[in-house]
C-alpha cells in the first residue's frame, strides 16, 4: 500500500491509497467467462428446485444443494429494473449512461449491465423505454476476452 502525505494550509494531512489485488476466479466463474469468449452466457441450474442462476452459483441457495447442471441462457430477456445516470462519479463512466437488470430467457434471476444504443438526451423520454417488462437483447463485442464487459444490452425493439 503506497501512502503519500503532505501538509496543506488548512492544517489537514492528505493521503492517498493505491492498492493492487489478484482476484481468483474459481471454477464456476471460470466456466462462465470461458462461455463468454464463445459468445454464450452460461447459467447454473438446480434440478431440485428448478431455478437457474445468473451470476452462476456453485450451490443453490434455496435448496442448499449443489447446482448440478449448466444451461445456456437465452440472448433476449426482460428488463426488471433500470436507471439512467446523469452525474459523474469518480472512476465511473462519463454520463449519461443507462444500466439495467435484465432476466434472460430461461433464467430465474437478473443480471446487470449497460443498455447501449439509446438516445439519452431526454432522460424522461428514455426512461419510458426502459420500463420493467420491456424486452432487451444481449449484444456481444466483436472480440470477447472472457470478461463480464464482453457484452451489454440493447432494446429488443430499437
Amino acid at each position: 500500500m503506497a501512502k503519500q502525505e503532505s501538509m496543506n494550509e488548512a492544517n489537514v494531512i492528505t493521503g492517498e491509497w493505491s492498492v493492487r489485488y489478484n482476484y481468483s476466479i474459481g471454477k464456476v466463474a471460470g466456466k462462465f467467462f470461458e462461455g463468454l469468449k464463445h459468445k454464450k452466457i452460461l447459467a447454473t441450474h438446480c434440478s431440485k428446485c428448478g431455478l437457474s442462476f445468473l451470476p452462476p452459483r456453485a450451490y443453490c441457495e434455496r435448496s442448499f444443494e449443489p447446482c448440478d447442471q449448466w444451461i445456456e441462457a437465452g440472448l433476449e430477456g426482460v428488463i426488471e429494473a433500470a436507471t439512467i445516470v446523469s452525474a459523474q462519479f469518480e472512476t465511473l463512466p462519463k454520463p449519461p449512461y443507462a444500466i439495467a437488470f435484465v432476466r434472460l430467457d430461461g433464467v430465474s434471476t437478473a443480471l446487470i449491465n449497460f443498455v447501449r444504443g439509446m438516445d439519452l438526451s431526454n432522460v424522461e423520454e428514455a426512461m419510458q423505454r426502459l420500463n420493467p417488462g420491456t424486452r432487451a437483447r444481449v449484444e456481444f463485442v466483436d472480440n470477447p476476452r472472457g470478461r463480464i464487459t464482453d457484452f451489454h444490452y440493447v432494446l429488443a425493439k430499437a
Partner: protein
C-alpha cells in the same frame, strides 16, 4: 426470549456536519461516548463491554480504525468487538450490545462509533467497490444507482411520482430544523427538490442524503442497573434482523423470495420484533419511527413492509400529512438519514433518536405521549435489514 430485560439508559450524539476539522476521528467517538456516559450517570468503570459501530473505513482512511479508537472510548481492559453490516451497522451493533445484556453476560454495554464520510472527496467511489469484481462492479453500481434501480421498479409497481418523493424531502428538512445535530435542514419546496440537478433517475441531488461526519453512542443496561440509574429509560422490547442474498437480481421477477423494491426483508425483521414487543397494530401502537432513509424513496416501502399501511399506500398517507410531526405517525422527527448520514453510526443514531423520544429528551423535537418507537437500519446491497422496537414500559 431474553433472559434479562434491557433498556437504553444513556444517549450521546455529536452534531453531524460536512466536516469536523477541529477534532480527529477518535476524538469524535470520544465525545459521543462521554456524552452517553454522562447522560446515563455512569463512568467508564461502570461499563462491562463495548461494541464498536463502524462500516467501511475507506471513507475516513484508516484501516482497522477500531484499533485506533480503543483508548479514546475507554475500552482497554474490557471485552470489545466491532460490528459491520454496511448501512445497517449501527442497528446491528445495537443488537449485539442488546444480546450481551439480554443473555446475562454483561450488566452494561456501551455501543459507540463515529464516521467522517466527507474525508474522501467521492464516497460513491468507495461504495462502487462493495460489489464483486467479476460480475457487478463494472456497471456503475453504487448506493445511489442501486437504490435508483429499486425505486424505478417501485414507481412502476405502485404509480408513485417524483413529486411524492420530493414531499418526503420537504418534510424531513423541515423536521430537521428543530434538531440541532442535523446536517441538512430548512424550509424548502417540492420545486426546489424537482429543480435540483439530476443524478440517477428518478433521483435529483435533494433526494439524496449528505455525507456527514459525527459520532453516536448508546448505553444499555440490565434491569438492576436501569432501576438504580434511570428514572425514564427506553426499554428494548423487540429486535429483528434478517439478511438477504447479495444479488439484487435474485430479488426481482417471478422467482424472487423477497421483492427488492418493497424492502421485503423488513417484513420478516419487523414481524420478529413485533412478536417480541406485543405489537399487533403498528399504526395504532407506535407513535414515532426513525427510519434509515438515505434516499427519498426509501421511506414508503419500509412503512409498508413494517405493516403501517398496505403496499402502495404510503405515498398517499404521506401526501395527506399523516406522517408529519404529531400526525397519525411521526416519521423521522429528527430529519432522518436524508438530513444526516454518518454511515458507520447512522443506524445507531436512528435507535438513539427513537430512544430520546421515549425518554422525553428529544428537545424541541419532543412529541407528547410517546409509548412506542421503532427504528430501522439497512445495509449492503439492500441486503441487511434490522429493526428495534423501544417502549416506555417493559413488555
Amino acid at each position: 426470549m431474553p433472559k434479562n430485560r434491557v433498556a437504553v439508559i444513556g444517549v450521546g450524539e455529536t452534531p453531524f456536519r460536512p466536516n469536523v476539522i477541529d477534532k480527529t476521528y477518535v476524538e469524535l467517538a470520544q465525545d459521543a461516548a462521554k456524552a452517553a456516559l454522562n447522560d446515563a450517570g455512569l463512568t467508564p468503570d461502570d461499563i462491562d463491554a463495548i461494541v464498536f459501530s463502524m462500516a467501511p473505513t475507506q471513507f475516513m482512511g484508516v484501516v482497522d480504525v477500531e484499533k485506533w479508537t480503543v483508548d479514546s472510548i475507554w475500552a482497554s481492559g474490557k471485552p470489545f468487538m466491532r460490528v459491520h453490516t454496511g448501512g445497517a451497522t449501527g442497528g446491528s451493533a445495537l443488537h449485539a450490545g442488546y444480546s450481551h445484556v439480554a443473555s446475562g453476560m454483561h450488566r452494561t454495554v456501551l455501543i459507540v462509533g463515529a464516521d467522517r464520510v466527507s474525508d474522501t472527496p467521492d464516497a460513491q467511489r468507495i461504495l462502487n467497490l462493495i460489489w464483486d469484481p467479476f460480475y457487478e462492479q463494472d456497471f456503475a453500481l453504487n448506493t445511489i444507482t442501486m437504490t435508483a434501480l429499486a425505486t424505478q421498479r417501485y414507481m412502476h409497481k405502485y404509480g408513485t411520482t417524483e413529486e411524492q418523493f420530493a414531499r418526503v424531502v420537504v418534510r424531513s428538512r423541515k423536521n430537521a430544523l428543530k434538531n440541532p445535530n442535523a446536517h441538512l435542514k430548512g424550509n424548502i419546496t417540492v420545486d426546489d427538490v424537482m429543480n435540483s440537478p439530476r443524478i440517477s433517475w428518478p433521483y435529483k441531488l435533494f433526494d439524496i442524503c449528505p455525507r456527514s461526519s459525527g459520532a453516536a453512542a448508546v448505553v444499555l443496561a440490565n434491569e438492576e442497573v436501569t432501576k438504580e440509574r434511570c428514572s425514564r429509560p427506553a426499554f428494548i422490547n423487540g429486535i429483528g434482523g434478517v439478511t438477504s442474498t447479495v444479488f439484487m437480481g435474485d430479488r426481482v421477477g417471478p422467482y424472487s423470495d423477497a421483492e427488492l423494491c418493497d424492502e421485503a426483508e423488513l417484513k420478516f425483521a419487523g414481524g420478529e420484533a413485533y412478536a417480541q414487543a406485543g405489537i399487533t397494530d403498528p399504526m395504532k401502537q407506535i407513535q414515532v419511527v426513525e427510519l434509515y432513509d438515505p434516499f427519498s424513496s426509501i421511506q414508503f416501502p419500509q412503512l409498508e413492509s413494517l405493516g403501517f399501511c398496505a403496499p402502495g399506500r404510503a405515498q398517499f398517507l404521506s401526501d395527506d400529512g399523516s406522517f408529519d410531526m404529531g400526525a397519525t405517525l411521526s416519521v423521522n422527527p429528527s430529519g432522518g438519514t436524508l438530513c444526516s448520514n454518518p454511515i458507520g453510526v447512522t443506524g445507531l443514531v436512528r435507535v438513539a433518536d427513537a430512544a430520546l423520544q421515549i425518554m422525553g429528551k428529544a428537545g424541541d423535537n419532543q412529541l407528547p405521549g410517546v409509548q412506542n418507537a421503532l427504528s430501522t437500519a439497512i445495509g449492503g446491497s439492500v441486503q441487511f435489514a434490522n429493526c428495534t422496537v423501544l417502549g416506555a414500559d417493559y413488555v
